[in-house]
Symmetry: C2
Subunit: 222 residues, 2 copies
DNA sequence: CCATCTTTGTGCACGCGTTCACAAAGACAT
DNA sequence: ATGTCTTTGTGAACGCGTGCACAAAGATGG
C-alpha cells in the first residue's frame, strides 16, 4: 500500500507538517501511526471534500474573446466541471460552435438553466449586460456566479458571487514592483518609502474577506 | 472642502472604522480631527501609494482568445497600465492589429522589452510555451510576471510571479455550493457533513500565502 | 511477547492582527 | 475666549491561527 507521511507532504507543499496533520484530522482522514497516510484513500477523501467527485454543469454567458477562452480552457473537466451550454445575446452567434459546443441565444437562458440543472453560472459579458444577466441567472435557479465583467453585482441573500478582475492581479504586481524600486531609492534618504509602506503591506484594510491578496491594502479609489 | 469620516468609509466598505484609521495613519494621510479626511487628498495619497499615478508599460505574450481578451480589457488604462506590445509566436499573426495594437513576432521579444522599458509581462500562451517565454522575459529584464497558463513557472530570486488559474475560482464556488447542499442534507442526520467541514473551512492548510482564498483548503490532488 | 522505532493526533503557548476604548485635537457655537 | 461636540490617532486587550513538543498508537524486528 503506497503511503505518504505528513512530513513528506509538508515539505512538498512548503507548509508546516503539524498544520497539515491537524487539517487532515478535521477531514476525518485517519492515517496510520508509524506509517503515514494511504495515498489512494487520502486523494479520494480530499477530492470528495472539495467536490471534485461531483459533476458540476456550468453555463458561460457572453461568448466574446474571454468567453471563448473560458470555453476552450482545458482545466475545467479535470476539476469536475462540465460546460453545459454557451449563451450569447448576439443572434449571429447562435448555432456557431465554440470549443465544440454550439452557442445558444440568451432568449433561452431560463430553459437552458432548468433543463441542465445548472447551479453555477459564469458571466463574461460586457459590463453593461452583467447585472441583467445575473438577475436572470439567479431567477432561473443559479446560486453561484463567477463574474468576469468589471461591475459589482448585487444578488439576493444565499447567492455566492466571486469577481475576477483581471487588472487587480496586475495591480498587485505593480504594487510590489513599486516597492522593489522604492526600497532602492529609500536606501539613500532616511525614512524612505519602504518604512511607510511596510506596515500597510502587513495590515491593509480588507474590503472583502474574499479579496485575492492579503498582502495589499484593499481600499483603493475608483 | 469635501470630507469623509472613517466611520462613513468603514460602513461603505464593510470594515471596522478603527482598522481603517490605523491603516490610513500608516500612509501618513493625516485627517482632521472633528472633521474627517479630505477626499481629494486621500484619493491622491492612496493612488500614489498603490502606484496608480505611475505609468506601467506591459507586454502580453500569446495572443489567442485570452490574450486578445486581455488586450481589449478596458480596466487597464484607468489603473495606470499601458499595453506596450502584443507578442505571438505565430508568424501569421504578425502585423495584424488586436485592440488597435499590431501583433509582433516573438523573435523580437528581447528588443521590445528593452526598448519600451517593460518590467511587467503577461503570459497567455499554451502551457507548453509558458516556461520558455518566461525565461526569455526574465532574461530581457522583466521582474514581474502574470501567468495565465496552467503551469507553475520557476523563476530566479527577485522575480515576482502571480498565477491566475481560472478554474480555481470555479472550484471555490463549487466548494461553497457543496457546503450549501451538504448543510441541508446534514440537518437530518446527527453529525453531518457541515460539522466535519466547518473547521477545515476556517483553518485550511495554505500551500502559498498568495493563494486566492483563505476560506478553502489549498491542498488538493492533481 | 516484548522492545524499539516511526508517525500520527493534539494540548498548549506564542505571536500577530483586529477591535475596543479613550485621550488629544481641532471645529464651531456662544 | 471658552466650552462643547465631533472625529482622529493609538495604547492595550482580546481572539485566533500557527507551530512546538509530546503522548498515544501501531508497525517491525528480535
Amino acid at each position: 500500500m503506497p503511503t505518504v507521511s505528513s512530513e513528506e507532504l509538508a515539505a512538498a507543499a512548503g507548509v508546516n507538517s503539524a498544520k497539515l496533520r491537524k487539517d487532515f484530522s478535521y477531514l476525518g482522514s485517519y492515517g496510520t501511526r508509524g506509517v503515514g497516510y494511504d495515498v489512494e484513500y487520502l486523494v479520494y477523501q480530499i477530492s470528495r471534500e472539495l467536490g471534485l467527485t461531483q459533476d458540476w454543469p456550468v453555463v458561460i454567458v457572453g461568448i466574446g474573446n474571454l468567453g471563448a477562452a473560458l470555453a476552450n480552457y482545458g482545466g475545467f473537466a479535470s476539476r469536475g466541471f462540465r460546460v453545459a451550454a454557451l449563451i450569447d445575446a448576439d443572434p449571429a452567434m447562435a448555432g456557431k460552435p465554440v470549443a465544440g459546443i454550439p452557442v445558444q441565444h440568451s432568449d433561452d437562458l431560463e430553459k437552458i438553466i432548468s433543463e441542465n440543472g445548472v447551479s453555477i453560472g459564469v458571466i463574461a459579458t460586457p459590463a453593461g449586460a452583467a447585472q441583467p444577466v445575473c438577475d436572470r441567472l439567479v431567477a432561473a435557479g443559479v446560486t453561484s456566479i463567477l463574474n468576469f465583467a468589471p461591475t459589482v453585482l448585487s444578488v439576493p441573500e444565499g447567492v455566492d458571487v466571486r469577481k475576477v478582475d483581471l487588472s487587480i492581479e496586475l495591480q498587485i504586481l505593480a504594487f510590489h514592483e513599486q516597492r522593489k524600486a522604492g526600497e532602492d531609492a529609500a536606501a539613500g534618504e532616511a525614512g524612505g518609502v519602504s518604512e511607510v509602506v511596510a506596515p500597510v503591506v502587513r495590515g491593509g484594510a480588507a474590503v472583502d474577506r474574499k479579496g485575492p491578496d492579503g498582502d495589499m491594502p484593499a481600499v483603493m479609489p475608483a
